[in-house]
């Protein structure tokens, strides 16, 4: 029996066991881990796609765990996440490479810091760390400049968006329900259940897991937890052309300055063959201010060039920004540890707050901890049908010529090239739109398929993708969105001007 809530939205009839707020990498990992059990799970996401904020806007690095204070949760979960990732990448069928990483130094002071980093890493249980000299740097990573370095063989690179969507799609396959465009507006407790209100529907659930990232403090406050404030700390990046990508074998970082609270401007190869330069570290006021600044762009060129002499202006394709959900403000600086807590006074709610780097690496270990915390209060029955394996959208470009031929014979849509720069076919775009967690925003399609990420940045394919959205989703021109609500691309037909 559906009821109207006080706010005037319909109450969903089904009562959930768990509602997860936020479908970034942590929320999606929690959904997947919980779907191993017989539970009614719903994920509520405020944006129009999963992985819309911090989870998709970072260096895409799987950290080994030597940067984190021994004994911290960050250290523990990072090391765990790093060691177990080969299995995860295999199950989720996502591109992943253990490239190794260099933390590079130039003087005696740097060398001392590198040695203490190695010590910390050794204590944290990070395997294979080594202090190397100039010659070894040259042989392992010929294009990186430095006198000595801390070499970490376990560090890897991945596409954080593809990882998150794989987690989410696998969770969905195993029974979790995803509600996109459902921003949580308020939560109250009644009849031993949490009533979770969004602008569209009202939900009832036993457990709430707060994975709301930048807004995790806001969600925590809805439970009466006032202890936390998220300080948005923006990082700007540049993306370099794949032509430059051939010059970088592995991420190269400078010796970190703990006070700054970021890992410093580093150079990272992306799994797709580009190079990321950044991020900067700048505390800002708004949680959604993703603007890039001239000042930082100039700084990235300057500082990036120090460790990577191949930084040429002509290689720049575009820039992007991410915002760290930090638990410490500008004056304090540095890092606070992950917060993952369940309070006796606020039953059946678990809050993950301040999950900044190494959040990507730690996502699954954090999710397992959530399961542990729930299991303390109730028994969990195994979902015998749980299937950990997931296949994403197959990349036509990577197939052999023979395979390409066969694919087109089976499905003519593989023969229609929509994005010429990246050789993305209509079949892949249609999958991105029609998959169970499909989307119809231009950026959503871009993130799932790589369309529009090539040299022409959508110059050729943007009109085609818009056309496909119009056709496939029976929308009108004025409804097509770029990325978020309000990002309408068009006014309407030409004569509507």
């Amino acid at each position: 029996m559906l009821q109207l809530s006080i706010q005037g939205v319909m109450t969903v009839e089904k009562i959930y066991d768990v509602i997860i707020v936020g479908s970034g990498v942590v929320g999606s990992a929690v959904a997947r881990e919980l779907s191993r059990y017989k539970l009614n799970i719903a994920v509520l996401e405020k944006e129009l796609d999963v992985c819309s904020e911090t989870s998709g806007r970072n260096s895409g690095v799987l950290h080994a765990g030597f940067n984190n204070r021994t004994g911290s949760l960050m250290a523990k979960y990072c090391v765990e996440g790093c060691l177990g990732f080969d299995q995860v990448a295999k199950e989720l069928n996502i591109p992943f490479k253990r490239t190794g990483k260099m933390v590079v130094g130039f003087n005696e002071e740097d060398l001392a810091k590198l040695k203490s980093l190695k010590e910390q890493g050794d204590k944290n249980g990070v395997p294979g760390l080594e202090i190397v000299g100039k010659d070894q740097i040259k042989s392992l990573a010929p294009h990186i400049g430095g006198e000595f370095a801390l070499y970490s063989p376990m560090t890897g690179i991945l596409n954080p968006f593809i990882y998150t969507i794989a987690l989410a799609e696998n969770a969905h396959k195993n029974g979790a329900e995803f509600f996109l465009d459902h921003e949580v507006t308020s939560i109250h407790r009644s009849e031993n259940l949490y009533w979770v209100n969004t602008k569209k529907q009202q939900f009832r659930t036993k457990w709430v897991i707060n994975c709301a990232g930048l807004n995790s403090d806001k969600i925590a406050k809805m439970f009466g937890i006032d202890d936390y404030t998220i300080y948005p700390c923006r990082g700007e990046y540049f993306i370099l052309d794949q032509k430059a990508g051939q010059y970088l074998e592995m991420p190269a970082y400078p010796v970190p300055n703990i006070k700054v609270g970021g890992l410093g401007i580093h150079i990272t190869p992306s799994i797709d063959g580009n190079i990321l330069v950044g991020p900067s570290t700048e505390y800002i006021d708004e949680k959604d201010n993703y603007a890039s600044t001239q000042k930082i762009m100039d700084l990235l060129i300057q500082d990036g060039g120090k460790i990577f002499p191949y930084l040429k202006r002509e290689y720049f394709i575009r820039n992007f920004t991410g915002i760290r959900p930090k638990l410490v403000g500008e004056n304090e600086g540095g890092y606070a540890d992950f917060v993952i807590e369940k309070r006796k006074s606020i039953p059946n709610s678990i809050h993950l707050v301040g999950i900044e780097s190494p959040g990507l690496t730690s996502a699954i270990p954090l999710a397992r901890r959530v399961v542990e915390l729930i299991a303390q209060d109730q028994s969990l029955t195994e979902n015998k049908n749980f299937d950990p394996d997931q296949k994403g959208i197959m990349n036509f470009k990577e197939q052999t010529t023979e395979m390409k031929r066969t694919l087109i014979e089976k499905d003519a849509n593989y023969g229609e090239i929509i994005c010429r720069c990246e050789t993305i076919t209509k079949a892949e775009i249609l999958e991105a739109i029609h998959n169970p967690l499909g989307v119809d925003t231009v950026v959503g399609i871009k993130n799932r398929t790589r369309a529009m990420m090539g040299r022409c940045q959508g110059g050729y394919c943007q009109t085609r993708i818009s056309e496909l959205i119009l056709e496939e989703k029976m929308k009108s021109e004025s409804e097509i969105l770029y990325s978020r609500n309000g990002s309408n691309m068009f006014v309407g037909k030409v004569r509507s001007l």
Binding site: S292, M297, I408, R455, C456, T463, Y482, L497
Partner: protein, 414 residues
């Protein structure tokens, strides 16, 4: 797997490809195929609905589609083979081509390949405008495609960055349809588009043009809400204190065109850093034997009439190549001083007449362009006006050359 064998394959059925095909057929080369990725032939002309095409060639002021139609009619009349909705995804130095279409993956082996893929636009990201990334920022060509091909209006209140021709054309186009174009901003101290376009696209509609200005901030979380512009100094750095805000929902970028040579690189074709197009000789042959290039893929043109001439010239040489198996070796380089962006061709044989195409890097009044060989002026052209927006072409007869030394092209103030 069947490999279809052809004498000539033309990649790209726009103005250059069409002109080359028609000429080849007229010269007796019948086994040719045009491969076009769009649903129709015509290339970029399909979306250039304004007039000004064909003024020299047909002595008429045609629209882009009409100009293309003249050639399409010839293609049909002459029975030239072409396929549409087919995208070339690979080419090799030994002239094998793989193309994808709904009908299947097609493989070809060709004796000669003509590259006429046109160009792409310089992007938002490439010029790194600081600020947010809302919807509402479009390059001019994309805005034009939406408006003229897809019947989609992109916005109501427009600001244009870059005084390139496409941006100027779009200023007029959008104004005619009822949008308000607030202003055009140009980084350089001179306009990059043709003067006649400044006149009939901006001045006619009282749209102000601000030289030595650039956009320094983009505002709006979801959809564009406004931009900030600043004046720039001689080194193109924003001058503090000159910031001005404009409210708008659309920012159109018309900041340059880049020859589209991703496929050319796959075949090992050497590109000229300055043009971003293939290095070619007087026959329009690239560094790979049997692969030729013309049109915007070689260097960006401003008049389609010249594109057709260039492609016809190329076709004549391809015909000779097919009949003789090779062309004269071209080992004489053409160099320029720093006042020129580039010259095409980059090398010649000194055994036949050729035409040098070039652009000056900044405007000149009352100047002289000299072609020198071993310090002697072998050809000299006086120009009242030379601007970067207008390609300059100078024909040279082979007997005007003194020897087999490098040629140098310079511009001198008269």
């Amino acid at each position: 797997m069947t490999v279809s064998k052809r004498e000539v394959i033309i990649i790209g059925g726009g103005p250059a490809g069409l002109a080359a095909a028609v000429k080849l057929k007229q010269l007796g080369i019948h086994d040719l195929l045009i491969i076009e990725r769009e649903k129709e032939l015509g290339g970029i002309l399909r979306q250039c609905i304004h007039d000004g095409f064909g003024l020299t060639r047909f002595k008429e002021a045609l629209s882009g589609p009409e100009y293309a139609q003249r050639f399409k009619e010839e293609v049909l009349k002459l029975g030239i083979d072409y396929i549409t909705d087919t995208t070339v995804i690979e080419i090799s130095a030994d002239k094998q081509i793989i193309a994808a279409s709904k009908e299947g993956l097609k493989t070809y082996q060709s004796k000669a390949i003509i590259l006429t893929m046109g160009c792409r636009e310089r992007t938002h990201g490439a010029i790194s405008i600081p600020g947010a990334r809302p919807a509402g920022v479009y390059t001019a060509g994309v805005a034009q495609a939406y408006m003229n091909l897809k019947n989609i209006a992109i916005g109501k209140k427009v600001v244009i960055l870059g005084s390139g021709d496409i941006g100027l054309i779009m200023a007029r186009r959008m104004t005619l349809e009822g949008a308000k174009v607030e202003a055009v901003f140009e980084l350089q101290p001179y306009p990059s588009g043709l003067p006649r376009n400044i006149e009939q696209c901006l001045n006619d509609y009282s749209i102000p043009l601000f030289l030595s200005h650039t956009v320094t901030n983009i505002k709006g979380t979801s959809r564009l809400e406004g931009i900030t512009v600043s004046q720039v100094d001689e080194r193109f750095k924003p001058i503090p204190g000159t910031e001005k805000d404009y409210e708008c929902d659309t920012l159109i970028l018309s900041v340059g065109l880049i020859p589209e040579n991703e496929l050319s690189l796959l075949a090992g074709v050497e590109l000229d850093e300055r043009t971003k197009g293939p290095k070619v000789d007087e026959n329009f042959q690239t560094s790979v034997k049997g692969i030729f290039a013309a049109g915007n893929v070689l260097h960006v043109h401003d008049l389609v009439d010249y594109v057709s001439l260039e492609a016809e010239n190329l076709a004549q040489n391809v015909a000779i190549y097919l009949n003789n198996g090779e062309l004269d070796h071209c080992s004489i380089n053409i160099e320029t001083d720093l006042n020129f962006g580039y010259t095409v061709p980059q090398h010649i044989s000194a055994k036949k007449d050729f035409k040098v195409s070039m652009r000056v890097k900044k405007p000149y009044r009352n100047c002289r362009i000299d072609i020198l060989q071993s310090g002697h002026i072998i050809k000299s052209i006086k120009m009242r006006k030379a601007i970067p927006a207008e390609m300059i072409q100078i024909p040279v007869k082979w007997h005007e050359l003194k020897n087999f030394e490098t040629l140098k092209v310079v511009v001198v103030n008269d």
